[in-house]
Symmetry: C2
Subunit: 350 residues, 2 copies
Amino acid sequence: MAQESRPTLATVAAHAKVSRQTVSNVLNSPEVVLPDTRERVLRAIAELDYRPNVVARQLRTRRSYVLGLRMPPTTDGISGQVLDRFLHALTDEAQRAGLRVMLFTADDDEAEIREYENLRATTGIDGFVLTATHEGDPRTRWLADHDVPFVSFGRPWDDAGTGDGTSHEHAWVDIDGRAGTRAATRHLLDAGHRHIAFLGWPEGSGVGDDRHAGWYEALADAGLAGDAVVHRTMDDGVAQGAAAANRALVRDDVTALVCVSDSIALGALAAVRELATSRPDRAPVAVTGFDDTPVAGAVDLTSVAQPVGDVAARAVELLRAQIDGRPDAVNRQALIEPYLVVRGTTRAPR
Amino acid sequence: MAQESRPTLATVAAHAKVSRQTVSNVLNSPEVVLPDTRERVLRAIAELDYRPNVVARQLRTRRSYVLGLRMPPTTDGISGQVLDRFLHALTDEAQRAGLRVMLFTADDDEAEIREYENLRATTGIDGFVLTATHEGDPRTRWLADHDVPFVSFGRPWDDAGTGDGTSHEHAWVDIDGRAGTRAATRHLLDAGHRHIAFLGWPEGSGVGDDRHAGWYEALADAGLAGDAVVHRTMDDGVAQGAAAANRALVRDDVTALVCVSDSIALGALAAVRELATSRPDRAPVAVTGFDDTPVAGAVDLTSVAQPVGDVAARAVELLRAQIDGRPDAVNRQALIEPYLVVRGTTRAPR
DNA sequence: GTGAAAGCGCTAACAC
DNA sequence: GTGTTAGCGCTTTCAC
């Protein structure tokens, strides 16, 4: 009812006794119109509760201020939660910056690219936010080749120099996973642990290797590299975490486990708990996770938290700069430091 | 680069040697144009890789086929996860039905309403999807009053008859929580449990009371109403779940706990585990949760799963019907039956 | 500084 | 059945 017939520029112009153009100017280049007229126009706008029709504007300017985001595939795992939190934050930050987020789905990278093409040809989407970049990701190349503004949550994982040599730079924001596990490991070292195992994913995943590196670095810095510590890899999942923990805990001197994810850590925790009942004599084993998912809080697990809010803010910034055509906005990136949330699983037992 | 200058209707028309209108007809009312011409036009469309500009169409038709959804506030709890899964499913279903989902944020219901107004006046959003309806929800009233198509995930919780008497109907889809806890309780009864406590939220939340009712019903059906069973209420959360479980387990005959949420169940599980070590003589206690969040799978917790995919499909259907102006689409609702996922916490111990 | 004219790409209405 | 005309609401260009 209320929207039966909204006022247009013409309505406002008539009301303020100026031309449509002047009203448009008041809105888009206020400095160009005399304070007096401007005042009058603004009053008319307020009185009529006029709001510009963004669709019409979009048709004219070819700018929508809408971002496209492929709904991250439902991992249904525990860690998939991080992307959901990111989406929350992104929506927030985008809105603050005058942008909107539009969702779409696609089954794989190729379908996603087809959808980019479709959305660009069809709607006026101004740019895209990618999540979960991985090695050999074809999406960034396509977007770069087609001059589409975009930013990825996740750095490019391809080895520079190897491959087809056509590597390209692009705007990205990522969490410094290495710094995260480094912090976790240092925390354990500070607490007196000397034999700290790492439970990780199989080698080859950029994210996993990055987190692994942080653990190794911290140990190396402490002069504990290599000799005394073990590390196992497997797929993500609670059961796998338990299995890996059991393998690591075969050695009696291992007193701490740095895990590549909260899922793994959850499994490790179960293994540790079992060990505590079966072998009460053994020293208590500390555990850290990664992602600080709600479960971590629930089971009192120390974990590395990803400040997705910061990631989202930077992502929006980088994207907005590209949309506005600000130069040198394309090749900018931000690596954001995660922080450790210390909980019960790494506190000394009473 | 590729999008430098996309073909328009006119391009296609020239190419196929017909008028723009005919091309438009081929796209929107194919049956009205001669097969021959249609063929020619379609060929031209394919050759030029023409795709209609939805913005222009939208300006003309006043239809965007875009749905607005307020990003559910980050509950950061374990159960908040359900809404995220719903969002995934909704995006999927919407896309399948030719609709898109656009996100926005708002701090509270009033802000959300302001955003409705803004989005309606400004962009061409066709309808909204609400989540987490609650008692005294002002949003549905506003939308209904303004003839805006919408559907809510969550039924209206206001008591019919009480209040201001201006109750209104609207399209909604919801999970039958009562059926869920009923199924969980029956499952436990079938397994031989006779004293089954319910761990719930404080009275007064529609969702919580609904789930409570299912548990009670199942017990009543079994002739076990009232006398032998306890039930406690508190806020949602793992710690609260543990506390409530401890209170319930004071009675030695209680052998099963039906929980209003996975968070509560997680706490209950911890309490049960503790009890098992401190009092090995006591009968093992079964536990069920609600929502079937990833944690449930991780800790092998039997839980009631919400088929959010079905919810999303029905929601899109109801919304699409309203947008298309199909009559009697406004007052339609769907109550969807959840299902029980049986896991270790309700299987007889070896 | 302000106004008039043109046009973004499309579809609704009406000729033919 | 097909083509022509008009216009959705806005901004860009160019007179004045």
